[in-house]
């Protein structure tokens, strides 16, 4: 199958993606440097924020604008969960609220569990330097 590489390397889109993704990471970096929040809490904050912004229908505009620049950061994971839950409700009501979110992000969660375990198995035990 022929791939149109001009569409793959759409520089305008890549630029918007790069800048948006970069800015979201800067917000995270400021939280790391200026607050005493642990990385775990920051990840939780980002996912929850993404889910709330997704629920409010705001995050969608960022996704339309920046593509992977908005979906690859963890806020995008939260957005995907919320979007899935809303679609689930549209499809099957209350059950959908429970099914939809995880269903929409099942690929990522399953990959994280599977590859995570596998990678930990093959990893070499490291010497702690700190």
């Amino acid at each position: 199958m022929g791939i149109n590489w001009a569409n793959v390397f759409d520089w305008m889109m890549l630029l918007k993606c790069f800048v948006t993704g970069g800015i979201i990471c800067i917000i995270g970096q400021i939280l790391i440097d200026k607050t005493k929040l642990t990385p775990a809490r920051i990840l939780v904050i980002f996912v929850t924020t993404g889910a709330i912004l997704g629920g409010l229908g705001i995050y969608k505009y960022l996704v339309d604008f920046a593509g992977a620049g908005a979906t690859v950061p963890l806020t995008g994971f939260g957005y995907n969960l919320a979007k899935g839950a809303i679609e689930g409700v549209k499809e099957s009501g209350l059950v959908g609220a429970f099914v939809g979110g995880v269903k929409a992000s099942a690929g990522g969660i399953a990959a994280a569990v599977f590859f995570g375990y596998l990678a930990a198995l093959i990893s070499k035990p490291k010497m702690k330097k700190q």
Binding site: V8, G21, V47, A51, G55, G67, L81, G101, I122
Partner: protein, 155 residues
């Protein structure tokens, strides 16, 4: 004792020592660059999937799976942590950080066995992320069910 102005390196060290350091600006710069690069890699994979005729949802899932897989194995090979030292939030905030947060503790507790050590400690950080993420999504779904609208459409 070496004269600080003698060699280029010594001079650089001398300047670094004297000038007020602003690590936050440097950290933000690298977070921006590395975070941007990781997202762009995601965008390129996304574009390739779409060119192959896959829908947006499937393409997005493939991007997540590939980035998570890469980050997991790079963590296993101790390469991701080296990147993380420079990138800071640049590698933590993208989905790669989620994969890293699963593999890192699992590696550390390998000696406690493959079930409770690796299998259990995998979720030290990822667990809370899933708990809050999934709970928030369920609440969003229930609120949507009750009000049958997303807030933005009310405005």
């Amino acid at each position: 004792m070496t004269n600080p102005l003698e060699t280029k390196q010594a001079y650089q060290d001398y300047v670094d020592q004297k000038s007020p350091n602003s690590p936050i600006l440097k950290n933000c710069f690298w977070a921006f660059i590395i975070g941007g690069i990781i997202c762009s890699i995601g965008q390129i994979i996304l574009n390739i999937c779409k060119e192959r005729g896959l829908d947006t949802q499937t393409s997005g899932t493939i991007v997540s799976i590939i980035l998570i897989g890469l980050a997991a194995f790079l963590t296993g090979l101790n390469l991701f942590n080296k990147l993380g030292k420079i990138a800071g939030a640049g590698s933590l905030i993208p989905i790669t950080g989620f994969a890293n947060s699963i593999v890192s503790p699992a590696m550390e507790y390998k000696s406690e066995g493959y079930v409770m050590g690796v299998g259990g400690k995998m979720f030290t950080v990822a667990g809370p992320v899933l708990v809050f993420g999934i709970s928030a999504s369920i609440l969003v779904g229930i609120i949507y069910l009750i009000f049958n609208t997303q807030a933005i459409t009310l405005v």
